[in-house]
Symmetry: C2
Subunit: 382 residues, 2 copies
């Protein structure tokens, strides 16, 4: 084959972090960014500025790409279908991706496939929510089926009045509906990532533990400490089954609740995912490389961990506008910490980078990674 050309719709940090993997395999990366200021645009030569809601822009972007894939789930399903019908390889394809775009379609498909979900129902008003809650108990989790991410579009409501207030004050995006889910009592959150290729090969990464703060992934420990081999195999099996049932091509992240007895599927993402950033240094093949290999239908790389434990902590926008000011302290204090800055303007709570530390003892690694992240965020001084 000639040098492969992979188009990524979206110019955020996931596209940006795909660049090193693409370069290493001499894969040409083309990115469709919403603006020339998108953080991927700074490091990728072939950037097309365009609107992912505009089919004409998408068609022009896809011209010459061997495959088109995504940094986010925001491209309208009908545009993806049109691209596919025009002969573009779109991976994951629209029939799969819709499950990461619409939580109701996802819940229906997983329930049909017998995969473990929280109890859920589509609702149209607060009365429906109350009816659902009566069968269980308050609080419940109210969600919009489309358009939410990083905790947006999700509300924990305690009463019919609260549900009514949320529903009255939220404008649904076109095609979006309401659903409600039981609030799962979990001991922790897990993430099971798999890569799956069009010819059906799949590999499962070690199951990781993730800590979410205000709906945003803050910490990941790989593999999840103390997870029994049975529970780990169960989580990987669920993720592989989701990938096969939905026909995923590329990386799939299945976010799971660990209830202590079993796992339940919380969310899906069909792209590299925050809970897989540890794999850049921590696995034989990073999620970014395996996403490229999967969408190009190349044999997948080993997802095996290199060291007994890898910890990743996100850096969120905090006190400092210029994160480079943190280099001297962070690098001098801990020569082993791996710093990743995304080149994004710092805004409070925004994901602007992450740090990774590799070793053996999760507690030690967490303390080291937290110190570095806290310093970049400005919540500690040294």
């Amino acid at each position: 084959m000639a040098r492969p050309v992979v188009g990524i719709v979206g110019g955020g940090q996931l596209a940006r972090m795909t660049a090193p993997a693409a370069q290493t395999l001499d894969i040409h990366l083309r990115v469709m960014a919403a603006s020339a200021d998108d953080c991927a645009a700074a490091v990728i030569s072939d950037v097309v500025v365009g609107d992912h809601d505009d089919l004409v822009d998408l068609m022009a972007f896809a011209e010459g790409c061997d495959v088109v894939t995504f940094d986010h789930e925001h491209v309208p399903p009908e545009h993806l279908l049109a691209l596919q019908e025009a002969g573009t390889a779109v991976r994951p394809g629209p029939a799969a991706l819709v499950h990461a775009q619409d939580k109701i379609i996802m819940r229906e498909a997983l329930s049909r496939a017998g995969l473990p979900c929280p109890r859920w129902a589509e609702v149209s008003d607060a009365d429906d929510v109350a009816l659902f809650a009566e069968a269980g108990r308050w609080p419940v989790v109210l969600k919009v089926s489309r358009g939410g991410y990083d905790g947006r579009g999700v509300w924990v409501v305690e009463s019919p009045a609260e549900a009514a207030e949320v529903m009255a004050s939220t404008a649904l995006k076109p095609g979006a509906r309401w659903l409600v889910e039981e609030k799962v009592e979990f001991v922790r959150e897990l993430s099971a990532q798999v890569a799956r290729s069009p010819h059906g090969q799949a590999v499962a990464y070690p199951v990781v533990e993730s800590l979410q703060v205000n709906g945003i992934c803050k910490e990941v420990i790989a593999p999840a400490p103390g997870l029994s081999p049975e529970r780990s195999a169960r989580a990987q099996r669920v993720a592989l089954d989701v990938a096969a049932a939905l026909g995923v091509e590329g990386m799939l992240a299945v976010e799971l609740f660990d209830t202590g007895q079993d796992v339940l599927v919380n969310e899906l993402a069909m792209r590299p995912h925050n809970t897989g950033h540890w794999s850049i240094e921590g696995a034989d093949t990073s999620q970014f490389e395996n996403h490229l290999r999967a969408v190009l239908d190349l044999p997948l790389g080993s997802p095996a961990p290199r060291l007994p434990c890898t910890v990743m902590v996100n850096v969120l926008g905090g006190r400092y506008d210029d994160l480079h000011d943190g280099f001297l302290h962070v690098m001098a204090r801990d020569p082993g910490v791996k710093v990743h800055l995304y080149g994004k303007a710092v805004r409070p709570g925004r994901k602007v980078g992450h740090v990774t530390v590799l070793g053996a003892d999760p507690e030690v690694l967490l303390a080291r990674a937290r110190h570095a992240a806290d310093f970049f965020e400005g919540t500690i001084d040294g």
Copy 2:
């Protein structure tokens, strides 16, 4: 500090492989390439095409760079001095770099510092060579002091007549002179890499074993198998002493002969080096990241190996014009092999990529890496 801007003169694979490290730390990389087709130009957004022999081009390139460093040793020392005098931070500086540019100046400095070198002498004709050989024995190694690399500019000569023929048929570049060295009986070649920063911090990488074929690095095993702790410490000490004695800023590779009794310095390179490519996956901090950290005077990263053994094998231009054709076989056969392609046109014997395998047993890793490299080169079929 604001986002640092590092300028690299030279657009080859060393500049190219610096891009991921720069991106990760949100360091802006600017490359001066001899042509827009240089392999670094394909992956770096900020490329200036210019002539490294032209001071005007160099001055324009340096404008706005926080520091200027190098992918090769070909910039004339007087231009580097002029840049430095104009206020540009040049690292390594011309006073250091000249030792990697001129083998006579290097031998003089190392001999003065008491560092272990082969017996050597400057020569101007075949009679001088014969005189040198009489004090030892034939064959001897005849070298041009400037302009040689990857085995070019080096001849093993067996007799005065052969020396005379080489000297008569070789046009010396401006400033170049002849030197002769004893042909060292070595049991293997080693490479000791260190990073050194302007403020004098230095870190030493594990000493590696390298196999050179026709003057080109072909295989590297990190760390060097069976190297005694004493010999390893000696090699690291020599490299640290070279870096301090010559005032190196950035990465330094000291290629060494392991004579079985001691080590002798063969060559120096003041930049990331082929014998350090294993560090991309194999060390806590790659040589490319530490080169950036060093030239920016940031604290250096840990050079510790992540796994007991890492093996790198170069891919040289061979039977296939399109290396991507090798992906299916190489990736399917060995999901753990890390493939690096440089995006260069394939020409026989040219360095066009490398493969890296990590694990424990050097023999097993060598066999895996050789298989992948041989397949890309077309010397085996599967």
